[in-house]
């Protein structure tokens, strides 16, 4: 009756989303008075060294075929470890890979996987019977919450990004690392054959300012003043699905449920109505400025700041005003 946490490593050691998952697992384990164990693909030593795991055991999955990522091989390995350890709950991060590996493992175990959980608690644990958990999960990209219950010998759950604030898990102490070698012969799998890393500078996902346009921008050319505003503020350009569907912008610019979810300091939404599928992509922005001809547009009523007017006039005027001020500064300097 213990919890197992799947840990992802990135350039800095244990990934931010894995720290969130660990925090949730420890909270849960505290309630239950149970141990937390963790599992990592690759270098367990590095995970243990990055500290603050506070787990009683760290399992390292070892096999030459696991050196590069493969959804099926990683999922099968996790499944085999779980079959041996029989934890009552397996928690993983809500990252793309985290979800993929958890789903592969849960499918192989024929066990439930509850994706994007914001809370988890033990409901019932009768002697000998499998435990029942009550969970809250995000649906529709976080627009709705679903309270649900699940009963199974082993339940898989992934945490929704940002649902839990990663806490410091106490002092650094030695974590025993145990190696587990799965049997991977004959597992049908996809192979990662090529990886290119892009040095993309300011990206939509990480920019402090995002200047985004929708149907109200009117055309591909209409985005030129938005691009200029993004350049002047060191920001990135985003867009709504109408802009991508019209071929005005590439899909990689799309903000929303089926695009990128962003949380910039300021989101400037130009000619975007604020449909729920767009809203879930930008609702975590620290501040939103909506520019719209319609004062009743849902995004305008939900925004921190609003400008009522035509994008085609407002954005060029903002750009001019920035030029005027910087020029003024230069002249007075």
């Amino acid at each position: 009756m213990h919890a197992l946490v799947m840990i992802e490593l990135d350039g800095d050691g244990v990934s931010a989303s894995s720290r969130e998952t660990l925090t949730l697992a420890h909270r849960l384990a505290g309630e239950l008075g149970e141990a937390v164990e963790a599992v990592v693909f690759g270098d367990g030593g590095r995970a243990a060294e990055s500290g603050g795991l506070a787990v009683s055991r760290l399992h390292q999955l070892d096999h030459p075929m696991l050196a590069t990522y493969s959804p099926e091989l990683w999922g099968e390995s996790l499944h085999q470890l779980i079959a041996r350890l029989q934890p009552s709950i397996v928690l993983g991060p809500g990252s793309d890979r985290g979800l993929e590996v958890m789903a592969q493992a849960a499918a192989r175990a024929d066990a439930p996987l509850v994706a994007n959980c914001t809370t988890i608690s033990l409901d019932r644990r009768a002697n000998g019977d499998p435990p029942t958990w009550t969970l809250t999960r995000a649906r529709q990209g976080g627009l709705l919450l679903e309270d649900a219950a699940v009963t199974a010998p082993t339940t898989f759950a992934s945490t929704a990004a940002g649902a839990v604030e990663a806490a410091s898990l106490g002092s650094l102490r030695e974590v025993p690392v145990e190696s587990f070698t799965p049997e991977l012969d004959g597992v049908v799998h996809t192979q990662l054959v090529d990886e290119t890393t892009q040095d993309s500078g300011v990206t939509l996902a990480t920019a402090r300012i995002v200047v985004s346009g929708g149907r109200g921008v009117g055309s591909a050319e209409g985005f030129e003043p938005l691009e200029e505003l993004a350049k002047l503020t060191g920001g990135a350009v985003g867009c709504s699905r109408v802009a991508t569907n019209n071929g005005w912008r590439p899909h990689s610019d799309q903000v929303g449920q089926t695009g990128t979810k962003i949380s910039p300091d300021l989101y400037i939404a130009c000619g975007i109505s604020g449909a729920t599928q767009h809203w879930v992509g930008c609702m975590n922005s620290k501040a939103i400025l909506a520019i719209n001809t319609d004062p009743e547009a849902p995004l305008l009523t939900r925004a921190t700041y609003g400008v009522i007017g035509d994008v085609g006039e407002v954005v060029p005027a903002i750009v001019d005003e920035i030029h005027r001020r910087t020029l003024g500064n230069r002249q007075s300097a």
């Binding site: 649906r139 990662l192 990886e195 996902a205 300012i209 799309q254 599928q277 407002v314």
Partner: protein, 256 residues
């Protein structure tokens, strides 16, 4: 190349969903329905691949009888066949959904050719379980990669290459056919159905399958709206006259 695409009927509204009084579901009266953008791209890609390589496209859904509408839309885009697994009005949990779909695919393959490629959306837009495709692929022993935004089929070699974008760059995967794939919007720009397509879809025969539905393990208690901080929007001005107030704001953030 025989391709199968799994699509799910979902509500299309861009407004805040109205919940039924008991929180048991979304009030779907007066709502339009659609399939998710990822799945629409899957249908489009299947039609293109089958068009290039020769072959047929089948669309499969598990849901209420009304999901017939979504199958016919896919047929009007250019898919050849529609198959409806009637699982009724209540949404099944992902294990039960996957089991119903995998059973239906076994039935279809027993009656005809194997599907060289089974396509899914990366996640369904309403439930977003991120797993139905992977479960189906596992049940059928197919390799499966998700998040895909580019597909290359090498028919002579019997292999497929899948491209996906990750925060750090681009990954390319390879799998032997038959395989499965979960795709994302941005893979292509789906076409609008032609008039001829619509006519064909109206007359097309949709095959019905009555499944044995296993009870799921995930039980819904209720749906609810997350708490939202009620914001009082500060109107900075009208038209071009608002520009100085906007730039003041940008200066406060120290970005200009």
């Amino acid at each position: 190349m025989n391709i199968l695409v799994c699509v799910k009927r979902v509500r299309a509204s861009g407004g805040t969903p109205q919940l039924s009084a008991d929180g048991g579901g979304v009030d779907t009266r007066n709502l339009a329905f659609t399939v998710g953008p990822h799945e629409e791209c899957a249908v489009e890609e299947a039609i293109r691949i089958a068009g290039d390589a020769g072959g047929r496209v089948t669309v499969l859904t598990a849901g209420p009888p009304e999901a017939d509408e979504q199958l016919r839309y896919a047929i009007s885009m250019g898919a050849d066949h529609g198959v409806l697994v009637d699982t009724g009005d209540t949404e099944l949990d992902p294990q039960a959904t996957a089991a119903a779909l995998a059973d239906a695919i076994r039935t279809l393959e027993a009656d005809g050719a194997t599907f060289d490629l089974i396509m899914f959306g990366n996640e369904s837009p309403d439930a977003g379980h991120y797993q139905v495709g992977i479960r189906v692929a596992c049940a059928l022993s197919r390799a499966m990669v998700g998040g895909v935004k580019g597909i290359d089929i090498d028919q002579a070699d019997g292999r497929a290459r899948f491209r996906r974008e990750v925060p750090a760059g681009v990954e390319v995967y390879e799998a032997a056919l038959p395989a499965a794939v979960g795709v994302k919007e941005g893979l292509n720009l789906p076409r609008y159905p032609s008039m001829r397509g619509r006519l064909r879809a109206r007359k097309a025969e949709v095959r019905g399958i009555q499944p044995e539905v296993a009870p799921g393990t995930l039980r819904r208690i209720r749906l609810r709206h997350p708490e939202e901080a009620g914001t009082q929007t500060v109107v900075l001005g009208h038209g071009a006259d608002a520009a100085p107030a906007v730039v003041d704001l940008l200066e406060e953030l120290e970005v200009v």
